[in-house]
Amino acid sequence: MLLKILFVLFVLMCPSLCWAVQPHGGLEGMVSHEAGHLLFILGILFIFFYSPQSDWFKFGWRQFKYFLVLLLLWNILTFSGHWLDLAAGSFEFVNVDGHRVGFVIDSLLSFIFYFSKLDHLILVPALIFLVLALQRWIKAQEVQG
C-alpha cells in the first residue's frame, strides 16, 4: 500500500511540462463578446415579447418598447461592427502623421463598418427612451397615489 502511494507521488512530482490552464487568446475574446451580444439580443426579445400586464406598467410601455427596439438595433449594429473589425485591414483608412483622419467608403461593408463606429447615435436615443419610460411610470404612480 505504502509503495502504491509513493509511486503516485513520484509520478505527480516528476513531469517537466504541464498545460494546467487553457490559454485564451486570438479570436476567443472576440467570439465571447459576440456571444455576449447575442445573449443581449435574446434578452431584449424576451422582454419585448413577455411584457408585463399590470396597469401601471402600461403607462410607460410605449417608451420602454422604443428603448428595447433601439437597443436591439444597437446590438445588431455593434455585433456587425465587431465582425467587420476583423476585416479592418481590407478597408482603406486615411492617416496623417500617424493619426486617422479619413475613411474610404467604397462598399456596403465599408459603410456598415463606418456607421458601426457611430453607434452612440442609436444608443443615446435608446437610453433617452428608457428615461422617458421611467419618468412615465413614476408619474403614473404619483397620480395614482
Binding site: G29, S32, H33, A35, G36, H37, L39, F40, L42, G43, I44, F46, I47, Y50, S51, P52, Q53, S54, W56, F57, F93, V94, G98, R100, V101, G102, F103, V104, I105, D106, Y114, K117, L118, D119, H120, L121, L123, V124, L127, I128, L130, V131, L134, Q135, W137, I138, Q141, E142
Partner: protein, 636 residues
C-alpha cells in the same frame, strides 16, 4: 468616397459623455420608482434592469473615453492592454442583462400568478364579507321571530338556527345533525322530509313534537337557496300548544253546552211530570183522614217525587238554566255563615281556615247558590284529604285579572271578587283536571259521589257571570279559584217565594184566575188546586186560546197564571198583550225551564212573580195570594 474620421471620434466622445449622464439619471429614476413602488416586483425588476444597463453604459462609455484619449495621445499600446478588460466587462454586462431578461419572464409569470392569487383572495374575501353580511341580516330577521327557525343542509347538518331555536334546544350548535338535536337520535328520522323537500322543491306543513319538549308545533319545511348557493331546507316551527289547548277548551265548552241544553230540556219535561204527581199526591193526602193507612204511601210517593225534583234542580244548576234570585251579597258574610255548616261536613282532622279580605266588594249573587258552591267545594276538599289536612277559604278583590277561564276558555277581565277554596290533599292529575267539570265525571268510588258536584259549581259560577279556574299540584294540594263580578249598585231585592214553609192553612181567595199551560196534566192539577182554594179558574192550553178568553172576559179576570215556554207564543208576550187590554191585571209565571224570554241568562228580572216547577199546592197558594195582594204590575 473619402469620409472624414473625426465624426466617429466626436460622436464617440460626446455620445459617451451623454450616455454616462443619461445612465446616471436613469439609475436615479429607477431608485425613485423602487422607492414609490417598493412592494411591486416589477418595479424592483425595472430598478435592477436599469441599474445593470446603466452600469454597462457607464462602463462602456468610460472605456470609450479612455480609448479616445489614449489614441489621441498615441498611447496605442496602453489601449491595446486595456481593451480586453473593457470588452470583457461589456460582455459580462451583456450576460447579466440576458440573465435578467430571462428572469424577467419568470417574474412576469410569477407576477401574473400572484396577481391572480391576490385577485382570488380579494374575491374570496369579498365573497366572505358578502356572505357574512347576508347571514347577519338574516339572523337579525329570524332572531326577531317568535317561531323557532333552523336550516339543514342535505347531509342533515344544521347550518343556521335562530334565537328561539337556541331557547328550545340550548345544546344546539352549528354542524350538529338535526336528528340528534331535535329527536335525540343517532340516525335520520323515519318521518324525515328533508330529501322530499329538496328533491320535490315543495313545502310541507305538518304537526310535530320534538323530543323532550312537551309542546306541539306546526312545522313548515320548505326548500331555499342558501347564501352560498346550496339548496337547503328551512324549517319554521311554530308553537301551537296554546292554540291546541284553546281548541280543546272550545270543543269541551261546545260539548258542555250541548249537554246543558239536553239536560235543561230534560229537566223541563220531567218537571212538567213531577208537578202533577206532587200536586195530586198532596191534594189526595189532604182528603184522607189522619189515621188513614194510605197517608204513609202517599208520603212515600211525595218523597220520591221531591228527590227527583232535587236531582232536576242539580241538573238545572249544571246546565245554567236554574232560576237565580240575585241579591247584593257580602261574600265574606256568606262564607262566615256557611262555615258552621262546613265544620260539620269536614272531618275532625281537617283544619278549616279563613282568610277573608277587608273591604271586600259586594257581589250580585244568589245566596243559596253561593252556599251550594261552598258546600260542594268543601266536600270535594274533604274527600281529597282522607288523612287530614287544611281546608283554606280565602276571599280577595282583584281589580285587574288577566287570565283565561279553564272551564269555558274565555278571557277573564276584572274587576272580580275572588273566592278561593284550597286543600292540602293529594292533588289532581292533569287528565282529571281536563274533565273535572263534566257532569257525572267522578274519581270517587261507587255510591260516594254523583259526579254532579263540580259541574254544578261550574254551572252556578258561570250563571253568575263568573269564571272558575283550577290549580293543582300532585301531593301538594288543589285550589279552586272562583271569579265573581263585583256589583256596582244594589239590585232591588224581591222576596218572591218568601216563607217557603208549608202553611197549616193555605191562603185562599175568590178572585178569577186564568191559567195558561200547554201541558194538560199541569193545567189540570193547577186548575183543580186553585179551585179547591176557592178561586174561579179558567184554563187555556195555549196562549191564543187564553187571549181569546181574556178578550171576552177581561173585566172578570183578576190574574193570569201562565207557563213561560209554550211553542209559538211565550208567556211574557201573552201577558204583554193582556196588559194592553187591562193594565190592572196581575200576572204570575211558572216554569220548570226558563229560557232568555223571562229570565235573562237565567237571572230573573225585577218585579216578576215566578214559581218554579214542580210546586206543591202550598207553594202555589202562597204565591198566588201574594201576587193578587201585590201592588206591583208586570211592566209591558
Amino acid at each position: 468616397m473619402n469620409t472624414p474620421w473625426w465624426p466617429v471620434v466626436w460622436v464617440d466622445i460626446l455620445g459617451s459623455l451623454v450616455v454616462v449622464f443619461i445612465a446616471f439619471y436613469a439609475i436615479h429614476l429607477a431608485f425613485r420608482l423602487k422607492k414609490i413602488r417598493g412592494e411591486d416586483v416589477f418595479a424592483n425588476y425595472l430598478f435592477m434592469l436599469t441599474l445593470v444597463i446603466g452600469v454597462f453604459a457607464v462602463f462602456r462609455s468610460g472605456g470609450h473615453l479612455v480609448k479616445q484619449i489614449l489614441l489621441a495621445y498615441n498611447y496605442v499600446e496602453w489601449w491595446s492592454a486595456l481593451a480586453p478588460f473593457s470588452g470583457a466587462g461589456n460582455t459580462l454586462t451583456f450576460a447579466v442583462i440576458f440573465a435578467f431578461s430571462i428572469y424577467y419572464r419568470k417574474v412576469g409569470q410569477l407576477k401574473g400568478e400572484m396577481d391572480k392569487a391576490a385577485f382570488d383572495l380579494a374575491a374570496s374575501k369579498a365573497m366572505v364579507a358578502v356572505t357574512e353580511a347576508s347571514e347577519l341580516r338574516m339572523r337579525a330577521i329570524f332572531d326577531g321571530m317568535e317561531d323557532a327557525v333552523y336550516v339543514v343542509d342535505e347531509d342533515f347538518k344544521i347550518i343556521f338556527y335562530n334565537r328561539k331555536m337556541k331557547e328550545l334546544f340550548p345544546q344546539i350548535s352549528s354542524q350538529d345533525k338535526c336528528y340528534k338535536v331535535t329527536m335525540g337520535r343517532e340516525g335520520r328520522c323515519e318521518e324525515c322530509k328533508l330529501h322530499k323537500v329538496l328533491l320535490d322543491k315543495r313545502k310541507i306543513l305538518r304537526e310535530f313534537t320534538f323530543v323532550g319538549i312537551e309542546k306541539r308545533f306546526d312545522l313548515l319545511e320548505l326548500p331555499m337557496d342558501w347564501i352560498d348557493g346550496r339548496l337547503v331546507k328551512l324549517t319554521v316551527a311554530r308553537d301551537i300548544s296554546e292554540q291546541k289547548a284553546l281548541e280543546a277548551q272550545l270543543a269541551h265548552s261546545q260539548k258542555m253546552e250541548a249537554v246543558g241544553t239536553l239536560a235543561g230540556g230534560l229537566a223541563h219535561d220531567i218537571n212538567n211530570m213531577l208537578t202533577p204527581i206532587i200536586g195530586h199526591v198532596e191534594m189526595a193526602r189532604r182528603k184522607l183522614s189522619p189515621d188513614d193507612l194510605m197517608i204513609a204511601r202517599f208520603e212515600a210517593i211525595g218523597k220520591c217525587a221531591k228527590r227527583a225534583s232535587s236531582l232536576i234542580s242539580q241538573v238545572l244548576a249544571f246546565s245554567r238554566r236554574q232560576i237565580l234570585d240575585p241579591t247584593l251579597v257580602d261574600l265574606n258574610q256568606r262564607v262566615t255563615e256557611t262555615t258552621s255548616m262546613l265544620k260539620h261536613l269536614v272531618e275532625e282532622n281537617i283544619a278549616l281556615e279563613l282568610k277573608l279580605a277587608d273591604d271586600l266588594w259586594l257581589i250580585s249573587a244568589d245566596s243559596g247558590q253561593l252556599e251550594q258552591i261552598l258546600v260542594n267545594l268543601a266536600v270535594n276538599a274533604r274527600d281529597a284529604m282522607p288523612t287530614g289536612g287544611t281546608l283554606l277559604i280565602e276571599t280577595l278583590n282583584n281589580k285587574d285579572v288577566s287570565t283565561y277561564c279553564r272551564s269555558c276558555g274565555e278571557r277573564i277581565i276584572g274587576p272580580y271578587v275572588v273566592l278561593m277554596v284550597s286543600d292540602s290533599g293529594a292533588g289532581i292529575d292533569q287528565e282529571v283536571c281536563k274533565r273535572i267539570f263534566e257532569p257525572y265525571f267522578t274519581t270517587k268510588g261507587v255510591n260516594k259521589g254523583t259526579g254532579l258536584g263540580l259541574s254544578m259549581v261550574d254551572g252556578i259560577v258561570h250563571q253568575h257571570g263568573g269564571h272558575i279556574n283550577l290549580y293543582s299540584e300532585k301531593d301538594t294540594g288543589t285550589t279552586f279559584k272562583i271569579y265573581l263580578p263585583s256589583a256596582d249598585k244594589p239590585d232591588e231585592v224581591i222576596d218572591i217565594l218568601g216563607d217557603n214553609a208549608f202553611p197549616g192553612e193555605l191562603p185562599v181567595g175568590k178572585e178569577t184566575i186564568l191559567v195558561v199551560e200547554d201541558n194538560e196534566d199541569v193545567l189540570q192539577f193547577t186548575t183543580e188546586c186553585l179551585m179547591e182554594l176557592g178561586y174561579d179558574v179558567m184554563g187555556a192550553s195555549c196562549p191564543d186560546r187564553a187571549l181569546d178568553i181574556f178578550k171576552k172576559k177581561h173585566h172578570d179576570i183578576d190574574m193570569i197564571l201562565t207557563d213561560v215556554v209554550m211553542g209559538a207564543k211565550n208567556g211574557r208576550q201573552l201577558v204583554r198583550e193582556a196588559l194592553q187590554i187591562n193594565p190592572q191585571l196581575r200576572s204570575m209565571f211558572m216554569s220548570g225551564y226558563t229560557d232568555n224570554i223571562i229570565a235573562h241568562h237565567g237571572i230573573m228580572e225585577k218585579g216578576l212573580f215566578f214559581i218554579n216547577k214542580p210546586f206543591n199546592p202550598g207553594d202555589l197558594a202562597v204565591m198566588v195570594r201574594k201576587t193578587l195582594d201585590s201592588e206591583r204590575r208586570f211592566s209591558a
